[in-house]
Subunit: 212 residues, 2 copies
């Protein structure tokens, strides 16, 4: 239609929240309804669980290979959790962004900080909060069949996660899942229209001005 | 619902575009459908036209009063156009933003630059482009009953306006008015969720953490 094509660079969408604020549901809905975004696939040194597929659920790596990649700077972010290493390989994300495809991340505030250091321009950081303390307690108690120390660790992690809300661009308060999802979609739609993500604009504008 | 109330500060939405790119239609639709945004009312030294209401269409001022306000820094932006002065009074905009209400501006790149100097945090800058040079020509020719010098001046102004697209945050390419309007709505919805516009969050988060 335009004669000159305008492309957009993909973006990296980070959804963070304390456990139980609805992040998993929102991520699933987004991935189901939006063909321009896919989940980031992490690399890990932990052993595959039954049914997990290499390259789809995770890239399963030996500790040695993980270390080599890390030393080469081939991870956008990485961390050690319960004795296993996890990381986001840089190359598949870079390839997705270059072809105008978005990547969704399910990472905590520490991973988000690392992404922010390596690719701030591509990053869109959304923090999801529960509507009230009572609501959060209720959701965390639902899983109360877990051992007491697991529950305590989860609560400490939720509190730690919440304390970093100031590092995020957008806040969604998930009082109603449909409204929260609409808000998430609006953020994604808007961010895709950011001028700085568009290429080909300069030539397009040049053509417009020549016609005048 | 939350116990602690979260408020948002309003934002200033600037829609700019070359003449004929659909800005007027998009502004009208937005004002009709969204109760949280109103058009900014400019002050001017030009005489009221029949039917124009003071305080609604414009604040009609004497040249002397305009000068006094300008010298006191009471305009967010101002300009002289065809011998008349125009300006955006700071006070009503500040009051709207403080109560969480948004303000829509129909100003050119020069007014936008002035707003950007005085209130960059509150400003959301959207540039609307026609889908092609042919389309823009066609739209400008529709008004070809105007005198040739008027048409020439309009085209020069359009070209000048377009050359400043890089100063805007978002680009909407108006190939289809419904799609363009949906994009404009998404931008507004998303910008309202920006963390930095929210007040009361710190106390809300404190309450959440105390419950854990």
């Amino acid at each position: 239609m335009t004669g000159i094509e305008i492309h957009r660079r993909g973006l990296m969408l980070v959804l963070s929240s304390p456990s139980g604020a609805g992040k998993t549901t929102l991520s699933r809905r987004l991935l189901e309804s939006d063909t321009e975004i896919d989940m980031s696939v992490s690399a890990t040194t932990r052993k595959p669980r039954p049914g997990e597929v290499n390259g789809k659920d995770y890239y399963f790596l030996s500790t040695e290979d993980f270390g080599i990649m890390r030393n080469r700077g081939e991870f956008l972010e990485h961390a050690k959790v319960f004795g296993n290493y996890y990381g986001t390989p840089r190359k598949p994300v870079e390839e997705a962004l270059a072809r105008g495809h978005d990547v969704l991340f399910d990472i905590d505030w520490q991973g988000t900080q690392q992404l922010d250091e390596t690719a701030p321009e591509d990053l869109v950081k959304v923090f999801i909060l529960p509507p009230s303390a009572q609501d959060l307690e209720k959701r965390l108690e639902k899983r109360a069949q877990d051992p007491a120390d697991v529950v305590a660790a989860r609560m400490a992690k939720a509190s730690d996660e919440i304390s970093h809300y100031q590092e995020y661009d957008y806040i969604i308060i998930n009082e109603n899942i449909d409204k929260a999802f609409m808000e998430l979609q609006a953020i994604l739609r808007a961010e895709r229209l950011k001028r700085r993500r568009l290429t080909g604009l300069a030539n397009f504008v040049k053509q417009l001005r020549e016609a005048l």
